[in-house]
Subunit: 664 residues, 3 copies
């Protein structure tokens, strides 16, 4: 489905807060046009205005605004309103209110506060969605349906318990099978029937990892089912536009892999803590998320929300320094976004988000620093529409898997005080990005065959026959990098019996014997044959070498001189094993060797200076190379002859926070 | 109303704990006389002894003690017993038990544990109060009624919910008006009727600031109503003595501005963390509270509780070093107290406060260090009765407003990890105190016309037309100092639209454009034209200069060289704007300029040495100047000719922790 | 009762998790024999397999395993299964589920999760126990009954409330007596009848220390009663073997003094945080627990659980370095254990303890480092059976009392942020251990007459007429060391009136006047007449010298030069008073003086090197001296002629983590 020919530019807009101020609504459109805004998101949280009393639908105000936006050249992403339900509903049907894990029914309040199972709620959502679709399904302004908002959370009410039990029945067929998979003979936890199973609870069962994993899977599936119910209703109402759900940074409440399958377009809300540490580190962390989102469908995605100034809900709500808004926006485009959208266009006057940065702030002025930067960005985007729809191509994939993380971080194991999975993934990601490569960030279920290098950091839980697929990948010539604490448990968090990493000891040429945890502050080091030496921390695995080549060994403790880093030829490919949580410098050097052995070329043939990010998108005819300087000083880069400069300049170096785009 | 001609000296006394030990009761009176104690507070928490079974009143024991005290020259402050109710009451009428914000009814226990709305509880309190008044209303020993104890806390029971809904109906008349003021279109929070509104709750609504502010206002009003019910009962019983409620340090559960209106005399309980940091800093922090309490009625107040030794409920219960008891006691007098009262006379044997310092400890001796210091203080007070009833006069007022703080600290804004309002107020207060001025500490509702300088630090919420009154104050010749993050929201925490600080941009000559938050540990600095330089942290406001004179500018970041401190002539007065959270040294220097420009003279014409506090009270004929040395070494001060020395000496310098009083 | 002639070696074994893997069950026995394992514990948490449906008992599988073990020379400790009940029971009888202190009934889950009062639960436990006893009561393999597992926790259901009220009625007879003991006139807490008393609760009463102490006593008594119910059932079933309950490190939920009385043998589960700080410090801390456990009956005890590798439930689950397993095992023997038992033999595949170290890990190999170390230990033990049953003899006792700790740490007093009772006890214990003495660790109820030195650190609560017994101890020639904050309250946490330490001021020659608390980081020092000087922190007591000899005085603060450490001759003995929390070096020096004055000789006549522990056991004929080197380097010790070397060698020094045993 094609939504629009344009890179979308704009953001969330809440005119329902200003219906008594037509002067402001008029000014808003004038300002949007000035800032080159071509798209706004309407209807998020508007239910109380759309259906102020049960069954009374007030859609005229919304149509009026959509019409006026459209007549001013502004497109609309229309949200279904299920992100927050009106108060009359919970007053009349308390079943729509969530029940917390400790089994207490919530009172009305907050947002994202409904039971995903409640038939009443599903019906109410279906009806309002259908009404919206009937009215706006064919409106030319509407380009995309924004289903609800930032899905998340869970409900433990009796309706959900029943749904969970049915889900389990369907999954296991017999209670004996469930007991086996959940290993319930431990601590006499054997279940006698599906009918009395309860979701995990701090006042009940909280240590049975099989139950907890399945509950998380159920919550995802139930949410997906709810989304499908929402989409079915807009389709029933006649809407033909594509759909999206806006996702969140590193969100662990849902497995986005499943949500991605039921919507047409991936979108997400990006709120990095800019200026907290070195800018480029924050950019890389945010880049990983962009790449994770893009890789969900391996298609362009949308940056659905970002903040034009300071947020209001972080501990410290820092202003974006001049230039950062542009850098962050171009980063999204560079990583595959076809939009730059802000939350929000006009700042609300009251309640909890009133100080969230906005294109138009409480002063109502268009001469603010933020408004000027938004306008400048709008003007640049308008000139570079050709990158819309272009693809990102990566030869390297890093597995960053939600189910793995659920199990890894929930299990009581070597380091209950911190395993640092996100950090482990970031170390590999950062190293490749510093070397100037695009990277896909994938889950265990995704196809590996297009890649030259696959990295599997801390892949504790094996599912989807990953061991077989990784074996085939290496056998066929791929380069696999696997780290410590991988291949330990199956899909139910049951330890594999026999040698581990499960199914891969021959591929890797090593088997794990023990894993040592280091106290916070305690370190070891690893050393190679050329006296190179890297510090390591947190986790040190002890392995038995069963045919691999030793690359590095431990520097101290009782496992001094034992194998820490290994490589092993297998089939047409090669497998590397990293047995220890080593410092970034190790990965930076190690991956130079790996890319060389895998015969990969970086995006640019020259070395990337510290603090600079290089990313590329390709169309059928062209390559667009984005070079972003995240330093607070200009940097020199000899780019002559690489391609046509279509944004920025690099004659006197690339300026602080500046983006240069080369077309090749 | 005049209670007594004396400075009250004594404290809380709980003879009901010792009724089986007449020998101890006898010794107590003997010891009190030895220590020059002239007043004790009786009846706090005595309900279970006064009414051991429902409707059975046992007041004889109390009358007996009152008589014996009186016949020994000791007056009585009599408490109503509502600070803790007897167990039979909650056993029979569970409605008197509080319901917590997460909607759980408490069990019997603790103290200050009752529902302020419960008709049963109000009736029970009225009856016991009336009985007490009938018995003691004309007793010559009784000088003052101590209504309940340290009012605080809240109840969320259905009775309170109904009372809250009625309070809201009365305030807003229509639900539409409430929705508008609470800005409920945000997140679809629109209320359909008053009848289903619920108080704020962690399991319901906790982000709607309008609701939360109104709930806090309701809690104060309901408490005030409860107090009025208590007082009405003692009046009905024939009592004619004045009333007080004992307030607490920086207590945010109630707006004391409202409580002050329904009692005759202000009193409070002071428990500083002496010896934790530099003594003078603790003294100043405590001084601010004294001044806040005194300013509530601009009349002498009472120090109702203080600890003669270590407390028992602080994290570290440190002994008061020799001399500190005297210094702390004289500080109260200096700031306007007409009493020095301790908690407590005799230490209880059991339960949670058994280790709270007392005049008579478990040893039962009168040769303890504490008893001797208490006695010495009693002797000094007895000689200086003439300061009783004298006033404190200040030309400088600092606004330290409870409603402002409620809103400021609840809003999600630039620094959710800490805004430091108390600290900001203290910086101005300390600077003036170091310069040797008395200071009033007032709320937004109080009259400004008597002051020469008004300081408004972080006055985020404007109410009571403060912007108009501040404008008039400057226009008429006053000097106003306003800081960053002022004039942002109205009484409902709704942002003002247009330029801010609201209504004062012409007075100040600047308008706010942005506010930057600094991470913990991050700093900036400000610099003036004479190379003076001060560090700043946490919050840096960016302002547009609209006619003010620039005093200082920022030293770094993207707003380097932009305006940080400004002054502006307006009408006959002058307004200063402090846009940044600067270090104490800035305020110390800056206020030298302000007092000079406002033509103010300090209490003493000589400079105050580091660590010394100077305060004054005035009668119609005399000025009493209190000079207190909070250093651990003596200091020299040339005070010859200032006045008659009526306490202490300064010939060889003023001793550590010593107080000198000069009469002029 | 004699269980067995052997030192028991083995651990927990859970064959019910492997019933579908007969190959594994077979391998397990083969491996056990290889490792010289002679004992396993069966049946902990097996209820769901033993009684899969109500009233259906499946014991055959267990008998089969017991038979096979026995036929392979392996004995069995058989557990009753009450540590975790099957799900059918709470589904049918919800009363068996616990109610938390905030009055919420738990859902099914976790373990140790039952109400100790519930008649249904007691009946179900009695029945299964009796069934087990009927089947295994005469089985020659069964040497010991392991009653339940790690008793702990509490229940606040209505059944427990009633039981508590009856317990109180029985204890106090009249409600007036209870009110007096609990000091309920404070805050009007007077109880009118036993019938409405509620257990302590965060939503009710949590500050009434008398109530809280009695509740803890009730929980212990109710648990003891439950244990007696369990044991009665196995006796009714015909079992004649001895019983034990496995206790835990420093567990405060129960007073083990009472549990010790109803079982035949003491056992405990030891999981030190090896390698976290200096090894010898961890060994000493663990040694204190061994000595506490042994002193409960002054007989050999059992090490019931220990980890052969890393645990899985600590914050950091560190591997045991090579040799540590042996050192920790021999330490248990040295301190009086007649067993070395591990948790567990074979690692489970799933649920929360799957990564807990085990003799046989998931790899299923017998060539792991851990398996080899377990085997080596087994071989050593097999050769040293003669130490079985030998006694430990100590002339020094330190009082480390659970009821004292309950009261001390619950009272709101001088340092609510930390009193450091455990640390205070450890300082005395460590000093004596460094000097090479065995130490008993006793409670206030235990007999003192066999000791030469008794240490009473922070003995805040006096019970069991301890003041009289300590007085007699000194009068008869004993040496008493008492520290600050002793003799403050009676059994109900009511302060003693008059001079303190209660009843001992003449014995000690001093009385307490005040106690000062120091902020964290704040220090004072004490100094003696020979310029020795020690730092002190946290608590400094001020005392009045009433005839004692001053040993040391304070170095600063207002009590500079006042008495800090005193000694006093009394009767035929001597009493020392340590008024301050001094550093370890003080105790190390001070106790050299004390042992000298008490004429005690250490185990070895030579000085113990840093990091070495010396401990001894005696039979009627021999003394066995255990010398353990906890340093990571060998140490030299001249041991020639002391005795026969029956384990290890010391010719070239004693190796790191090595144990040498001398027989004399």
């Amino acid at each position: 489905m094609i939504m629009t020919d344009q890179l979308m530019y704009g953001g969330d807009y809440n005119p329902e807060q200003w219906l008594d101020r037509p002067d402001i609504l008029e000014t808003d459109i004038e300002y949007m046009k000035k800032a080159k805004i071509n798209t706004v998101t309407l209807g998020v949280f508007s239910w109380a205005v759309l259906e102020p009393e049960e069954g009374q639908y007030h859609l005229d105000w919304l149509e009026d605004i959509v019409d006026r936006l459209y007549s001013n050249g502004i497109s609309v992403i229309l949200a279904t309103p299920s992100g927050a339900r009106p108060k009359w509903m919970s007053d009349k049907y308390p079943e729509v209110l969530r029940v917390s894990e400790d089994r207490r029914r919530a009172l009305f309040g907050k947002r994202h506060n409904h039971c995903y199972t409640s038939p009443v709620y599903r019906q109410k959502v279906a009806t309002i969605n259908q009404k919206l679709a009937e009215r706006f399904g064919n409106h030319p302004a509407i380009k995309l349906w924004h289903i609800s908002n930032e899905y998340g959370g869970e409900c433990h009410c009796q309706l959900c318990q029943e749904a969970f039990r049915n889900w389990l029945k369907n999954r296991y067929q017999s209670i004996d099978e469930l007991n086996k998979k959940w290993y319930t003979r431990f601590w006499s936890h054997t279940y006698h029937s599906f009918d009395t199973i309860e979701s995990p609870s701090s006042i009940g069962e909280y240590d049975l990892h099989g139950l907890k994993l399945d509950w998380k899977r159920f919550v995802t599936d139930q949410t997906v089912d709810f989304i499908e119910n929402e989409i079915a209703a807009i389709r029933k109402g006649g809407a033909t536009q594509p759909t999206t759900v806006n996702m969140m940074y590193d969100y662990l409440g849902l497995n986005y892999e499943k949500l991605a399958k039921v919507v047409d377009i991936i979108s997400w809300d990006s709120y990095p803590l800019w200026h907290k540490t070195k800018e480029v580190e924050i950019a890389r962390d945010n880049g990983l998320q962009h790449d994770f989102m893009r890789s969900l469908k391996k298609k362009p995605f949308l940056l659905m929300e970002s903040c034009p100034s300071a947020t209001n809900w972080q501990g410290i709500s820092k202003l974006k320094k001049p230039g950062l808004l542009s850098a962050a926006s171009w980063q999204a485009i560079a990583h595959g976004s076809d939009s730059v959208l802000y939350f929000q266009i006009r700042q609300g006057r009251g309640s909890s988000e009133k100080f969230h940065g906005a294109v138009i702030d409480h002063s109502g002025r268009d001469d603010t620093r933020v408004f000027k930067e938004v306008t400048a960005m709008g003007e640049q985007l308008e000139m570079l529409q050709e990158v819309k729809g272009t693809k990102c191509k990566a030869d390297i994939a890093i597995i960053y898997d939600t189910e793995n993380r659920w199990a890894l971080e929930d299990a009581q194991g070597p380091r209950n005080n911190g395993l640092f999975y996100h950090e482990a993934v970031m170390k590999s990601y950062s190293a490749y990005r510093k070397l100037g490569y695009n990277v896909d960030v994938i889950n265990e279920a995704q196809d590996l065959s297009d890649y030259k290098i696959v990295v599997a950091p801390m892949l504790y839980l094996f599912r989807e026959k990953i061991e077989t697929r990784l074996e085939a990948f290496v056998k066929n010539g791929g380069h696999l990098v696997m780290t410590y604490w991988s291949g330990v448990v199956d899909e139910w968090d049951r330890c594999f019996l026999g040698d581990t990493p499960y199914g891969l000891t021959q591929v890797l040429g090593v088997r794990r014997t023990e894993i040592d945890a280091l106290y916070d502050g305690e370190t070891n080091f690893i050393q190679g044959t050329n006296n190179e030496r890297y510090e390591c921390q947190y986790l040190c695995e002890l392995t038995q070498n069963e045919g691999a080549k030793t690359l590095m060994t431990y520097g101290k403790d009782f496992y001094k001189d034992e194998l820490a880093i290994a490589e092993n030829l297998y089939g047409k490919g090669k497998a590397y094993y990293v047995g220890v949580d080593a410092e970034q410098a190790f990965y930076d050097t190690f991956y130079k060797k790996v890319v060389k052995e895998a015969h990969l070329q970086p995006i640019l043939s020259i070395e990337t200076p510290e603090g600079v990010e290089v990313t590329s998108r390709v169309s059928e005819k062209h390559e667009y190379i984005f070079i972003q300087n995240y330093n607070t000083e200009p940097v020199d880069m000899p780019l002559d002859g690489v391609g046509e400069v279509i944004l920025g300049s690099y004659r006197d170096g690339i300026g602080a926070y500046e983006t240069v785009i080369l077309k090749k």
